[in-house]
Structure formats: structure tokens, C-alpha cells
């Protein structure tokens, strides 16, 4: 008996190690092992909080108090509050204007960057800079540029004679504040549009332009019938990406206007923070955040149709 147990133990030790390494060599084992850290992390810190957000949104959760289910009352209350209705409208104005401007300016800038240029690297570096610097900090710079007393924007406008003294109080007036927030978002998002569209432009075969030119197409016709159709895929992806991140913008509004004046620049994320953390009504805050979800769904659905097609 004793001898045979020892025999088995001796025989098993190397075979266990061999079996583990054999398992690690098999794709159906190694795959799940390699994916599991990412999966655990995302289940614990993305999927689970998302379920909590769903629960909070149908409860009267308040910081430091037990909560009860109250059905859809948060959503109904929100629709009855002026601040939320204003925010809802702001989100579409902000996102629509910023994405449209970034698209048009992004295509223009990409076309310019695609030309023969001196100092190509330096120019690209300068164009990409706003995207690299921490948004919260660069927005501080814009905050100073829009300052009511010392605004360099107004100083320049007055010096050039395109503004009437004293110039607009950018962050204190409703429409100007929204314009300011949109301008900073365009400034920050333009590099992503320009550089990605440029990559799309470079990928278009030069022969197509030569062929179009031989057929007598001018620059406008070449752009319209060659460039734009071939850029459609890239443009769709860039716009979808930008839509979700513009819609959920937080940093710029938080630093520049805090949602003011009188909620005229609040977006879902900033209002959610104000309601959920500053006044403690987490349930209502979570309900506000969830308004980002339908947009996310649409973008994900569209992205999967475009991106999956390319990747797999």
C-alpha cells in the first residue's frame, strides 16, 4: 500500500505540472485565462455599477439613507423640473453644433494637412496639441480668456473693431455662455477629427484622382465624387465616436460655467453631479445620467455595424 501511494505521488507531480502547461498550450483554456482579469474588472466596475445606476434611478436613494423603490417617479419629476428640461435641450444644441462644426472644420483641416507642406511635423504637432493637454487645465486657460474684465478675446475683438465696447460678457450671458462652451469643445475635439480624417485621406489611392482629372473633373468635382464617397466610412466612425463623447461632456462645462448662468449650459453629466452629489439625491442623479444611455446604445449599434465589418 505504502509503496504504491509513493509511486503515485512521484508519478503525479511531474504529470500535474505537465498537465498545466499542456492546458496552457490549448487555446480553449489559455483564452479564458487570459481574458478573465479584464472580464472580472469590467464586470465588477462597469457592469455592476451600471446595474446599480438602474436600481438607483427607480429608487429614492439619498446619500447615507436607506432607499426604497419608487418606480419611475424620478423620471417623471425630472420632466417637471425646468432645470432638467433646459439641460435636455442644451445637450442637443451643444452636441449638434459642436459635432457639425468639428466635422466641417475637421475635413477642411485634414485637406490642408494632406498638402505638400513645409515644417509638416511641427504643424501636425501644433494641431494635435489641444487633444493632448488635460482638458480641465486647458479649460482654465479658456476661462481666463473669457474673463469678464480681462478677456483677451474681447480685447482682440475691440482692437480689430469687430466688437462694440465693452464686448460680450461671455460666461455671464445665456447664449454667449453656450457659444463659449461649444467653442472650447470644438477646440479640444478638432485634432481627433482632423488627424483621423487625414489618415482616411492618405489611404485613398492617388490613381483615382488622376483618373478623375483625366476625365475632366475639377478640384470641387474630385472632392465631391472621389474624396467624400471614399471617406464615408471614416467620417461615420469619427462622428459616432465624437457624438457619444460630446454628448457626455463634463470637464469643459464644469470648469468654464458650472452649468450657469441659470442652467443655460448644463449637460446631463454636470446636472447629474450637481443633483446626485452636491444635493445628495443619488436616485435622481442616476436617472439623469441614464439619459446618456439611449445615445450610447444608438452609437454602439451603428459602430458595431461599421467597425465589425472592417475588423472581422
Amino acid at each position: 500500500m505504502a509503496i504504491s501511494t509513493v509511486d503515485i505521488a512521484v508519478a503525479r507531480r511531474p504529470s500535474l505540472r505537465a498537465r498545466i502547461s499542456e492546458l496552457l498550450d490549448r487555446e480553449e483554456w489559455l483564452g479564458p485565462i487570459f481574458v478573465s482579469p479584464a472580464l472580472v474588472l469590467l464586470l465588477l466596475l462597469v457592469a455592476y455599477p451600471f446595474c446599480m445606476a438602474l436600481y438607483f434611478s427607480v429608487s429614492n436613494a439619498f446619500i447615507g439613507r436607506p432607499s426604497h423603490l419608487i418606480g419611475l417617479r424620478n423620471f417623471i419629476n425630472l420632466w417637471q423640473s425646468d432645470a432638467f428640461r433646459q439641460t435636455f435641450q442644451n445637450a442637443f444644441v451643444f452636441c449638434g453644433a459642436a459635432v457639425a462644426a468639428k466635422l466641417v472644420l475637421g475635413i477642411s483641416l485634414a485637406l490642408l494637412l494632406d498638402q505638400q507642406l513645409w515644417f509638416k511635423r511641427l504643424i501636425r504637432g501644433a494641431v494635435l496639441l489641444p487633444w493632448v493637454i488635460p482638458t480641465a487645465l486647458s479649460t482654465l486657460g479658456w476661462w481666463w480668456m473669457f474673463n469678464s474684465l480681462y478677456s483677451v478675446v474681447n480685447w482682440t475683438g475691440l482692437a480689430l473693431g469687430i466688437m462694440d465696447p465693452p464686448g460680450p460678457n461671455w460666461l455671464g450671458q445665456k447664449y454667449y455662455a453656450m457659444a463659449a462652451v461649444i467653442i472650447v469643445n470644438i477646440w479640444r475635439g478638432l485634432p481627433f477629427f482632423a488627424i483621423t480624417i487625414l489618415a482616411g485621406l492618405v489611404a485613398i489611392p492617388k490613381e483615382l484622382y488622376e483618373a478623375a482629372e483625366a476625365d475632366g473633373a475639377g478640384p470641387v468635382a474630385r472632392f465631391w465624387y472621389v474624396t467624400l464617397p471614399l471617406l464615408k466610412g471614416v467620417l461615420a466612425i469619427v462622428v459616432l465616436f465624437s457624438t457619444i463623447f460630446t454628448f457626455s461632456e463634463f470637464n469643459i462645462v464644469f470648469v468654464l460655467t458650472h452649468g450657469g448662468p441659470i442652467n443655460s449650459t448644463h449637460l446631463f453629466a454636470t446636472l447629474a453631479r450637481q443633483v446626485g452629489l452636491e444635493t445628495g439625491r443619488i436616485g435622481e442623479g442616476a436617472a439623469i445620467s441614464l439619459y446618456l444611455f439611449p445615445v450610447l446604445m444608438i452609437v454602439v449599434w451603428a459602430q458595431l455595424r461599421f467597425v465589425r465589418k472592417q475588423a472581422y
Binding site: 479584464a38 474588472l41 469590467l42 462597469v46 489641444p130 493637454i133 486647458s138 482654465l140 469619427v238 450610447l296
Partner: protein, 279 residues
């Protein structure tokens, strides 16, 4: 070069000027403000575009010695380095598995990672704050080390999947025929080939976590725990009196690490930016 071509080239540069001014001016103005003496800074008749009365580093010395700026920067650095390393390791193995191996539900896992890549941080910060409290990490920079990978891992995975797909399968198979295990083949053969991808992912992860704001603002609040961007935007603004010089000095200094990386690795940023969206 003929005349028409040269005119065209010059015209293109002229058209680029407004874009370049728009992109760079805020940084110019921030730096300028941080170097101005107060009496010129708050003189409304002075030209704000230049320094006339001599530069000063007073705002910088004030920032470094009278505030906790150095502590915040140290926190930023710690959080960023740890979160980047963690995410890169988790992301690399996940990306390799998703791009190369055949196993149960590999396709839907890849999709799930991509979907989380699109989830904006501002959607989940409220419930995540509760999770952070339950983990006992309320008002601690460690909360950021744990939560930043939620957006860094999907990004790194997605980016690296693209790079792993470009490595020919044969390279790996050769090594395995010669007796290497799959892990050895990955470590010795595949990873060295994908170094550009790893550098790119590391740079982006570093930049994204250095720039992160909403989680840092929500999960940390005391001066010993906050990161540089939160410190500069919240602690340097007290009441209604703004110290614009120091504020701009803080914004400039806290951007320096990223700008340094950026200057050295510009091409990686360009390729990563496009790969992240297109691949």
C-alpha cells in the same frame, strides 16, 4: 518648382494659419499670463498679448512653496504610473487571447470589450462612487488606481488587438514547432514584434489617466489625495478672489509631463489616435 505650384503651396500655408492660431493660442496666453507681474496682469489698458514690464517667476514660486502643488503632482504620477502598468498587462493578455485564440464566446467577449470602450466615464461615476466607498477607498488616491483601468483596459485591449492581428501567425507557429510553449512564443516572439503597439498603448493610457478629471473630482477630495488637475481647478480657487497668475502657472506646470512625452513620441500619438478609432 514652377510658379503655380509655389503659389498654391504658399496659399495652403496661409489657410492653415487660423487653424494653428486657434490651436496654440490658449497655451501661449496661459504661459504668458503665468509669467506676468500682477500690476501688468490686472491693468485693463495693457496689451494682453505681450509682456511689456518684464517677466517674473513669482507665480511659480508661490505655487510650489505656498500650495500643495507638489503633493498633487506626486499623486497624479503615482496613480498614472500604476493604473497604466496594470491596464497594459491586463489589456495585453486579453488582446492576445481575443485576437489570436479560438475559445468559447471569443467573438461576443471582443464585442463586450468594445462596448465598454464606448461607455463614457460620466455615465457611471455616481454608482461607482458607492462601490469605491464599499471597497473602503473613499477619498483615497487608490480608488483612482482601481477605477482608471475601467476605461484604460478596454482601450488598450482594442488598440493591441489591431497590432496582434498584424503579426503573421506563422511566426508564432514556427516557434511552437521548435518546441516553445504558446506562452514562451508570446513572450519571446510576438511581444517583441508588437513593441510599437505596446508603446502606443502605454502612451495613450498614460495620457488618458493623467488627463482624467471626473473620477478624480468625485472619488477624492482632501488635499493629500487629489491629483494635479483637481488640485489646480479646485484648491487654487478660493472664494471670489482668483490668483490668475498662479492658476495659470499650475495649469502650465501640470501639463508639462504630457507635453514632454508628446514632443518625443508625436508619431505614436498620431498613429494611436487613428488606430483607436479606425481599427
Amino acid at each position: 518648382m514652377n510658379r503655380r505650384k509655389l503659389t498654391h503651396k504658399i496659399l495652403m500655408h496661409v489657410l492653415l494659419v487660423p487653424f494653428l492660431v486657434f490651436a496654440v493660442f490658449p497655451f501661449y496666453h496661459m504661459t504668458l499670463t503665468s509669467l506676468k507681474q500682477n500690476k501688468e496682469l490686472y491693468d485693463r489698458t495693457a496689451n494682453p498679448l505681450v509682456i511689456r514690464q518684464g517677466p517674473t517667476i513669482d507665480h511659480y514660486t508661490k505655487l510650489l512653496w505656498d500650495t500643495s502643488f507638489l503633493v498633487w503632482t506626486k499623486n497624479s504620477l503615482l496613480v498614472t504610473v500604476l493604473a497604466t502598468t496594470l491596464s497594459l498587462v491586463i489589456g495585453t493578455v486579453a488582446a492576445y487571447a481575443l485576437a489570436r485564440l479560438k475559445f468559447f464566446a471569443v467573438g461576443s467577449l471582443g464585442t463586450a470589450i468594445f462596448v465598454t470602450y464606448l461607455v463614457p466615464t460620466s455615465l457611471l461615476f455616481l454608482p461607482l462612487a458607492q462601490v469605491v466607498n464599499w471597497l473602503g477607498l473613499g477619498d483615497s488616491k487608490w480608488a483612482l488606481v482601481v477605477t482608471y483601468p475601467t476605461f484604460l483596459v478596454p482601450f488598450c485591449t482594442w488598440l493591441l488587438m489591431g497590432y496582434f492581428r498584424t503579426v503573421p501567425k506563422e511566426v508564432e507557429e514556427c516557434a511552437m514547432v521548435d518546441g516553445a510553449t504558446r506562452i514562451q512564443a508570446l513572450w519571446r516572439i510576438v511581444l517583441p514584434i508588437t513593441v510599437p503597439g505596446l508603446v502606443c498603448a502605454a502612451l495613450f493610457a498614460f495620457t488618458l489617466s493623467w488627463n482624467e478629471f471626473i473620477y478624480a473630482l468625485t472619488f477624492t477630495s482632501s488635499s493629500e489625495q487629489i491629483t494635479a488637475s483637481v488640485g489646480v481647478t479646485s484648491e487654487l480657487i478660493r472664494g471670489d478672489i482668483y490668483y490668475w497668475g498662479s492658476l495659470m502657472a499650475g495649469a502650465v506646470l501640470a501639463s508639462v509631463p504630457i507635453v514632454v512625452l508628446y514632443v518625443f513620441f508625436l508619431d505614436y500619438y498620431v498613429s494611436g489616435l487613428t488606430a483607436g478609432a479606425i481599427k
